[in-house]
């Protein structure tokens, strides 16, 4: 332990702590801007400066390591003056249209102004003006709001290794953007949206689709069905004041019904189809010498990353569409026919924790007979906005159930929303199908947790099946590099583009840097899904009665010709630059 004094108080913290961490443990909140735990730690914004006795200049607390006997002042007059001046300078070149900003009331810059007592902006010089890049299907960049903290750059480059944005130019005209000022849409951006959730202000946001959804709901000619991904229920509550990790499934469904959707279904049913199809694909490849490892295809950010950076692995990808696309295809075929609805009049909205799903649903392959699987994708944040716009008192809603049919979604589908979940769901089904016996314990603990790359070996039909799970594209790159070099070998790999999986996807409620310092958001939201899984009576995809029925009545069997037409897709190599 290291002993130091902070504001005259004796504090004892483990070695390797920064002054910022030590102060936080002592109950002192040092303001930060460019610091984001696990993403960015550069000490460049100077918002967290502190006085260290004996040091010549003010020091950045986020990078200053504690040392025995140091004396720190976190809120001395000198420190407060320096912080305020820095903040005022940042504000002088900031587009202060806060009232209409997507991050209004959820902006770290706004919070800083409040906490540092900024009530005037004394510097009124030239302000940079930039075009807004809104050509991407998923992400909008508005550099007029950018504070140059570089959290997005670090998320894109260091965490995800996508590396399509960086800082460019110098001095006053420094900005964040793509090489040669290209739009994100003409780069190898994978639309994961980790830049959005890293951004402290409104410089990055999703390309909103709420207007088309409102229009569809208002159109009496349209039959509008909404489906929600598993991870949405684990985080939507945060937008309405619930603690992180509170599942709000029942209230979410009640809200969807009040918004005017004709039907509200659970994408978990789609996930159960994915397991049936992908599990069958895995068994087929194992038994018939197909391309291994089989790599999951649920995460559209991962798919595009693979297309740009690992085109030699495209044949390893499962040909399965992602759950919401599968479900959309089933709704517009099986369900439309059964209910006597013209699929052309059916409008399917997917609520996703993801902004890459917006790109995915727009891919030309995502249709059958000219009918799009999914018509609009909105994020968890956009759903929260719609609920607020409708005057629905979310916290006072009763708990309601998803609509019939498809209300019997399984625990296997629910855990899709966290890293390791797809693997666990697949193992629950594949194991029982191969071994022809019931699992004593459905939990596969080895594939759970937030470690970047997880490995496990499972015996299936007397054969060892080596499994690896990566979340975050930096980890996926590491894993694939180790396979390319021949160092590692696996039969099955799960990849989720976002660190933590969908629960911490680019479309989820944004947690401030402070929240990330205090709470492990990935693990806490994952816990909400695992508790949902435990609560459900059916926890294996192959036991979902709706899934069984649809195979009996319509799809014949997993991997059938018609299943391939509706539920499977293909990929293409894309340029790296």
């Amino acid at each position: 332990m290291v002993n130091l004094k902070i504001n005259g108080m004796d504090v004892s913290v483990p070695e390797g702590y920064t002054v910022l961490q030590a102060a936080r443990e002592a109950g002192i909140d040092i303001p930060t801007l460019c610091y984001l735990k696990d993403v960015s730690q550069t000490g460049s914004c100077r918002m967290c400066v502190v006085e260290i006795k004996g040091a010549r200049a003010l020091q950045a607390a986020c990078v200053y390591p504690v040392a025995e006997g140091i004396e720190v002042l976190t809120h001395s007059p000198r420190v407060k003056k320096a912080r305020k001046a820095t903040l005022e300078l940042i504000l002088s070149n900031h587009d202060r249209k806060c009232l209409t900003c997507t991050r209004n009331q959820k902006c770290e810059l706004q919070t800083l102004c409040d906490e540092l007592g900024v009530n005037d902006i004394p510097y009124l010089g030239v302000r940079n003006e930039y075009d807004i890049d809104d050509l991407s299907t998923s992400i909008v960049r508005d550099n007029n709001k950018c504070v140059l903290c570089r959290r997005c750059v670090s998320a894109c480059k260091n965490v995800q290794t996508v590396s399509v944005i960086d800082t460019m130019e110098r001095g006053f005209i420094t900005k964040v953007g793509c090489a040669f000022d290209k739009s994100l849409s003409s780069t190898a951006c994978v639309n994961c949206g980790q830049c959005i959730v890293a951004c402290p202000v409104g410089a990055l946001r999703e390309k909103e689709s709420t207007d088309v959804v409102w229009d569809a709901i208002a159109d009496e000619d349209k039959y509008v069905i909404v489906q929600t991904a598993p991870a949405v229920r684990a985080a939507l509550g945060e937008e309405f004041g619930y603690e992180i990790g509170t599942p709000v499934t029942g209230k979410m469904v009640a809200a969807l019904k009040r918004l005017g959707f004709d039907k509200a279904f659970d994408t978990d049913t789609g996930a159960d189809f994915t397991i049936m199809e992908e599990g069958t694909e895995l068994l087929d490849r194992l038994q018939n010498g197909g391309k291994l490892p089989l790599i999951t295809s649920c995460s559209p950010g991962w798919i595009k990353f693979c297309e740009h950076n690992f085109p030699d692995f495209l044949d390893n990808l499962s040909s399965c569409k992602s759950p919401h696309q599968m479900f959309g295809a089933i709704l517009k075929s099986y369900y439309a026919k059964k209910e006597g609805i013209d699929p052309k009049k059916m409008f399917v909205v997917s609520v996703m924790p993801c902004v890459a799903k917006k790109f995915e649903s727009s891919r030309e392959e995502m249709e059958a007979d000219g009918i799009r699987d999914v018509d609009a994708v909105i994020t968890t944040r956009e759903l929260a906005k719609m609920i607020k716009q409708s005057g629905i008192k979310f916290t006072e809603l009763p708990d309601e159930e998803f609509d019939n049919p498809f209300e019997e979604a399984t625990g296997a589908g629910v855990i899709f929303g966290t890293t390791g979940g797809v693997t666990e769901a697949a193992l629950r089904t594949v194991y029982e199908l191969v071994e022809n016996k019931t699992l004593d314990k459905v939990e596969f603990e080895a594939v759970r947790g937030t470690e970047g790359i997880k490995e496990a070996t499972v015996t299936l039909g007397g054969k060892d099946v080596r499994v690896a799970i990566a979340h975050g594209l930096g980890n996926a790159r590491k894993l694939l590099d180790s396979i390319r070099s021949g160092e590692k070998n696996y039969e099955f790999i799960e990849v989720m583009a976002c660190p933590g999986g969908c629960v911490t996807g680019g479309g989820q409620p944004i947690c401030s840097a402070k929240t990330h310092m205090d709470i492990d958001v990935k693990a806490t939201r994952a816990k909400a899904l695992y508790s949902e899984d435990e609560r459900l009576t059916i926890r294996k995809s192959h036991e979902n009665p709706d899934v069984k029925k649809i195979y009996d009545e319509f799809l014949e069997k997993p991997g059938s010709h018609i299943a391939h037409e509706l539920l499977h897709t293909h990929y293409k190599a894309r340029p790296k630059y």
Binding site: D166, M168, E169, A179, F180, T187, Y577
Partner: protein, 162 residues
């Protein structure tokens, strides 16, 4: 707005082979980007997207990072130099004598921005710091020719000489 080249890339196989040699020499070294960019600019005269992409691929450094470095340092150029290199002095004396207006006039006539080159490769335009001829302010240089005590009405005739 995407930055597009004002004239097409005319790199040769020989230039590419030279660049590949430079990249091979520096590959795997820490801090290789800047020395390789210097050499590349010596080889090609400037650093267009084609050259930066070869460097990004060769050194396994993101293109966005390479571009960030190129635009940070003024000695790197995204555009080739023209047959005639125009320098408009924006030093204090020239500036107060109206060199800013002269610069605008040249941009208007040649339809290029500072740092760019005309599509025919004839003129490139730079804004310079003090060239040490304050007595002649405002000053424009075209290669080795110096034009002093200018007003913007004279610009068209001067450019027409080249």
């Amino acid at each position: 707005m995407e930055k597009t080249a004002t004239l097409p890339f005319k790199g040769t196989k020989e230039q590419e082979a030279k660049l590949m040699e430079v990249i091979a020499e520096h590959k795997g070294q820490k801090g290789a980007t800047i020395p390789v960019l210097h050499k590349a600019q010596e080889i090609y005269g400037y650093l267009p997207i084609e050259v930066q992409t070869m460097i990004a691929e060769g050194l396994d450094v993101p293109l966005a990072e390479i571009y960030g470095v190129v635009t940070f340092y003024t000695q790197f150029s995204l555009n080739p130099k023209g047959e005639y290199q125009i320098g408009v002095c924006l030093g204090t004396a020239c500036y107060v004598k109206g060199s800013g207006d002269i610069l605008e006039e040249i941009k208007e006539i040649l339809k290029i921005d500072v740092g760019e080159c005309t599509p025919d490769g004839k003129f490139s335009l730079e804004a310079t710091r003090c060239v040490g001829a304050c007595g002649l302010a405002p000053v424009v240089t075209i290669n080795d020719d110096v034009y002093g005590r200018l007003n913007k009405g004279e610009i068209g005739a001067i450019l027409a000489k080249y």
